[in-house]
Structure formats: C-alpha cells, structure tokens
C-alpha cells in the first residue's frame, strides 16, 4: 500500500487486480477498439490528404474574378421597356483595383498566399501544328507558393522571363516541341508573341497537361490586351475546408466573384465530406462498444463486490469514496486499453507502411504516426471509461449497506 496513494486509488487498483481475468479481457477489448480507431483514422486521414493533395496542389483554393457582366432591362424610357434581355458574353476583363484587393486578401490570417494572374484562350502554333490552349500569365514568386510548378517540371525549368513559356507535357508532345523550341502564341484579337519553351510541366491530369501554358504576367497582359490588369487573383487558405467561408468574406468585402474549390469541385467535396462522416460514425460506434464493454464489466464488479462495498460503508466509507473507486476503475481500464490499443495501432501502421507497397517500392498509401491522434485516442478511451463507469459507480455508491452486507 503506497503511502502517497489515496484510498480510492488503492482500492480501485486492488479490485482490478483481484479480477485479473476480467480486467485483462476488457483491457484487450478496449485496446482492439482503440487500435481500430487509431489505424482507421490514420489511414483515412492519409487517404484524404493524398487525394486532396493530388487535386488541390495543381489549383488555387479560391479564385477571385471580376463580377460577371449583366445586361439590365431598359426602364424609364419614353414609354418603352425591353421585352427580351439577352445575356451578354463575358469578356476577358481586369479586376477593378486588383492591387488593393490583393494586398487586403494577403493580410487576412486565413490566407496563406495570393497571386494575380491574367489568363485567356490563345492558339499555340508550331509549324503546321496548332492547338487551342489556355495561357496563364503569373507572377512566379507568388504563384509558385500556390501551385508548386517547379516541383512538377519534368524537363527544363520553371523560368518565366518575358519571352519564356512553360507548357504542359501533353501539349509539348502534341506539338512535337522540346525545351528551347520556339512557340508562336496568338490571341483571338490577333496579338501574338513568339516565346521560347523554358520548361515542360506534368500537372497530373491529361486535360490540364494538354491545355495549360504558363507565361510571365506582363507577357500575358500584352497578349490579352489587359495592360496592367489581372483577370483573376488566385488564393490559398490555411484550412481548405474553410475555403468557401473565406471566399464569401472576400466577395462580400471587395465586390468580386470568389469561387472556392468547394464550389468548383462540389462532387469531390461531397465525397470527402461523406468519407469524414463515415469515419466519425465508425469511431462513434467503436467508442460506444468500448463504453458498453467497460460498463458491463463494472456492473458485474459492483454486483460481485456489493458485500465489500457494504463493509466499507459500515467502516466509514462515504458514498463519494465508493463512487470514486469505481469511476477510477473505469478510467484506468480506458487508459490502459488505450495505451495498449495505441501500441497495436502504431504497429499496424508501421506494418502497413512496410509491407503494402506500390509497384515502385514506395508505400501504397503512406500513413504517418501522428502523436496527436494517439493522445486523442487515449483521451477518448479514458473519458469513455470514466463516463461508462458512472452508472455502475452510482449504483455502488447508492447500495444500502445492510442489504449489501447481507448479500
């Protein structure tokens, strides 16, 4: 009996030790549940991050655009009102006061990077070959913080001088072009420029690789007739799931259109959300199973120990002391199970990373050992143990000592 331990801890420990088999079984049960939560959460998080990284690493989280042009019905004329209002076509326009908006957006705590761009459709011509492509004029220093183009370069480099162009790998193949080759870019307005291919990029999507070209911002401004203008501002945010909220704030404050990735990739977002809900639901039910397991063991323990509870009460134990003895047992079972379960979960993650490999020998789905996940699992299991012990503990504390001693 350790002198530094209070009665409740001593009694809880002895009671658990006394029912060794029972204690071991429930700790094993809790640990299996915790290991399922740990492994499944880590795997699903890794899978989600992997998918999100693949999808969002090649695009900004929010794109700010000038407000759409709308045609208004003519009213108040000399007794006439237009019966039919035709929708106008959308010209490539600059965002009004884009430099001010860029500064304000960059100051927002939720925003990690913002970059102006001038983009539009052009023709890429090389000899007899012509392709309709999208030209994206960017400020490399800013834009590469949003889309890490240099990481995706497969040939050449992500250099964007006034006469440089970086093209998608499929486009380069279609045009039979290599790094250093010249490419003629012609806008619909007839403006054109002959640029040198500085790099070839793989954006991870065939469509994007066929249509994407990067040029310096001022080159695109000249090509598209947007001198000094920016047709869009690309933004990345810290919390990707808050992108829509941030977009609304920006749109409301600056009178621009703000399309978040959540809106432009609605189905993808729904799939991610559904997966998160499924994950949470599974965790909830596993936690529920843990809770009922612990509660069942402690209810049996209260019944088995009712005479001892009665004797302790006769000797001067308060209801509070009895309550705490059983609450501590619940918490101890939860904590012990969570520690063992975390070890099982970690072992499963390490085994997964080691034995489930892709064709190139790298892990099929790399899962990280996140300390926070283990802490959360331990906390969850301990609190679950405590909560599930409440009912049996109350039952024990309320036992009538006379009835309890009689058995």
């Amino acid at each position: 009996m350790h002198s530094w331990l209070p009665f409740e801890w001593i009694a809880a420990g002895r009671f658990l030790r006394e029912g060794r088999m029972q204690t071991a079984s429930i700790i094993l049960g809790v640990s299996i549940g915790v290991s399922v939560i740990v492994f499944m959460s880590a795997a699903l998080t890794a899978q989600q991050q992997n998918i999100i990284h693949r999808v969002l690493s090649a695009q900004p989280h929010i794109v700010l655009l000038p407000p759409k042009e709308v045609a208004r019905a003519l009213r108040g004329g000399p007794g006439a009102e237009a019966a039919l209002v035709q929708k106008p076509f959308q010209r490539v326009r600059s965002i009004d006061q884009w430099q001010r908006i860029l500064r304000e957006v960059e100051r927002m705590p939720a925003v990690t990077a913002a970059s102006p761009s001038a983009s539009g459709s052009v023709l890429a011509v090389r000899g007899e070959a012509t392709r309709s492509v999208s030209v994206l004029g960017i400020d490399p220093d800013r834009y590469f913080r949003i889309v890490p183009v240099p990481e995706k370069i497969v040939s050449g480099q992500a250099r964007l001088g006034s006469e440089d162009i970086v093209v998608g790998i499929e486009l380069a193949a279609d045009l039979g072009a290599r790094v250093g080759d010249k490419l003629r870019i012609v806008a619909a307005s007839g403006r054109g420029a002959t640029l040198s291919i500085a790099g070839i990029v793989d954006l991870g999507s065939k469509g994007a690789n066929q249509r994407t070209t990067y040029v310096a911002l001022h080159t695109a401004q000249a090509l598209l007739g947007l001198i000094g203008g920016a047709s869009s501002i690309d933004v990345t945010v810290q919390d990707i799931f808050a992108a829509e909220d941030v977009a609304r704030v920006i749109a409301g404050a600056n009178g621009v259109e703000a399309d978040s990735w959540i809106r432009t990739n609605e189905q993808f977002f729904i799939a991610i959300s559904a997966q998160t809900i499924a994950n949470t639901t599974i965790r909830f039910f596993v936690a529920l199973a843990i809770a009922f397991g612990i509660a069942a063991v402690l209810i049996v323990s209260v019944v088995q120990k009712s005479r001892e509870i009665g004797i302790l009460r006769a000797m001067g134990a308060t209801r509070g002391q009895i309550l705490r003895v059983f609450l501590l047992q619940g918490a101890a079972l939860g904590l012990a199970g969570s520690l063992l379960g975390s070890a099982f979960g970690a072992a499963a993650i390490l085994a997964w990373d080691r034995y489930f490999l892709a064709a190139d020998g790298t892990p099929l789905l790399p899962i990280d050992l996140q300390g926070s996940l283990f802490i959360a699992a331990a906390l969850l299991a301990t609190l679950t143990g405590l909560a599930s012990a409440l009912m049996p503990a109350l039952r024990g504390a309320r036992l009538d000592p006379v009835t309890a001693i009689r058995g």
Partner: protein, 238 residues
C-alpha cells in the same frame, strides 16, 4: 451507572411502511448501555436482533424513537454525518468476518483509519500492527485474508473493529461460525479489549455459555425486550 455510550428510547422499525405488507419488527425498544459494559443480545431467529444491531450501527434508520451514540442524537443527521459518526465511534464484527479479500490482514485492519484520513501513513501501520499483535497474529500481517483460518480471520475482524478506538463495538454472532476453541479465543480477546480499554461491547449470540460470561444479557422476543438482567457486576478497567 457509568456514562451512557448508547441510548435507545422507544425505537421502532417497520418494513413496507404504507403498504398492505407493512410489518413492524421492533416495537419500541428502550435500552441504555454504559461505558465499558459487555452486553449479550439474545433471542430466537426473527426476533429482530440483526435489525436492532443495524439501527444501533447507524446502517439503517428507525421509523420512530431516539437513538444516541456517545451522547449524540442521530435522528436528524444526514448520511454523511451518520457515516462519520459510525466511522469514528462504532466498530463492527460480523458473523462471516467480512474481510476484504484483496487486502492483507494488516491492510484490512488499517482500512477504517485509511477511510477516515484518505491516505495511509506510518502511524496507521503501527497501530494496525500493534492490534494484530495483540490478537496473536503478528506473523500473519502480510497474508491475504483468504489464506487464513476462520478463527484467524475473525481475530483480524476484531482488530479491524478496534482500529479507530471506538467507544462501541457491535458484534453480530462473531463466534457463530467458529469451533468452540476459536470461539472462546475470539470472545476472550473482545473481553480483554473491553476490560483494558473500557470499550462498550454489544454482542449478538446464541451461545449461552458465552452469554453467561458477559456482564449483562438482554433478551429480545418478537421485537420487544422481554428480559434485561445483569449477570455479573460491570468490571472495572484493568
């Protein structure tokens, strides 16, 4: 008579109150035990002995009447106050010893002190060891109760009842499950404590030979005291 340790006045206990199955078990008990008295409570099964002992031990509440322990009237005390009064002033010895099997003999004896103080300390250990020694169990102090004989376990239970130095010890057929020799040993130990420390003892027993060795015998029949006689003069402290 010496100062009263226990005073009962018109104590009544009924079960199923307010229902058709209401039954009164104790019909107005008047009883006073003085300091240092060694009293046997006898009576046939179902006479209300255990019910009376539970009321005196503050484990149950009477329906009517007054019950005072060490001069403290208990009818208006809440559960916490009753628990504290019980812990400090009353020691229990049960028929089946009821030791805690997960604890050693020493720890069982320490338990009332531990419950009172919250944490164990050296003084508790010393007192428990001394009590076990006085019960002739010094060498058994670190044994679990389950590894001891019935007589030894009951002696541990007596030591435990004395741990808080209570003014009143209630023993519910403490020798009922023991052979004659062990029964006499346990009885002698309780008698010795009674003599040495002037601890008041109320012992429920069916054993007439042991009852005859008490100072006083109270007989309970059908929930009423039918006989209350002094067998021998109350003995002074040794």
């Amino acid at each position: 008579m010496a100062e009263a340790v226990l005073e009962l006045e018109g104590l009544r206990k009924a079960y199923g109150v307010g229902t058709s199955a209401e039954i009164e078990v104790l019909h107005g008990i008047d009883l006073t035990l003085g300091k240092g008295e060694f009293c046997a409570l006898m009576g046939p099964s179902g006479s209300g002995k255990s019910t009376l002992l539970n009321l005196i031990g503050l484990l149950d509440r009477p329906n009517a009447g007054r019950l005072s322990v060490d001069g403290r009237e208990t009818s208006k005390l809440n559960d916490r106050a009753l628990t504290a009064l019980r812990g400090h002033h009353i020691g229990f010895v049960f028929q089946y010893h009821h030791l805690l099997p997960a604890f050693t003999a020493l720890e069982n004896v320490m338990m009332p002190m531990l419950l009172d103080r919250g944490r164990p300390n050296a003084a508790m250990r010393r007192r428990a060891a001394s009590l076990l020694e006085s019960m002739g169990l010094a060498q058994w102090r670190d044994h679990l109760a389950t590894n001891m004989s019935g007589g030894q376990q009951q002696r541990v239970a007596v030591a435990r009842a004395l741990a808080m130095n209570p003014s009143l010890v209630l023993a519910d057929e403490p020798t009922g499950n023991l052979d004659t020799k062990s029964a006499q040993t346990v009885f002698d130990l309780m008698r010795e404590v009674n003599r040495n420390q002037r601890t008041t003892v109320l012992i429920v027993t069916h054993n007439h030979a042991l009852a005859a060795q008490c100072d006083r015998i109270v007989e309970l029949v059908d929930g009423q005291i039918v006989n209350d006689r002094r067998v021998r003069p109350q003995q002074a402290a040794a």
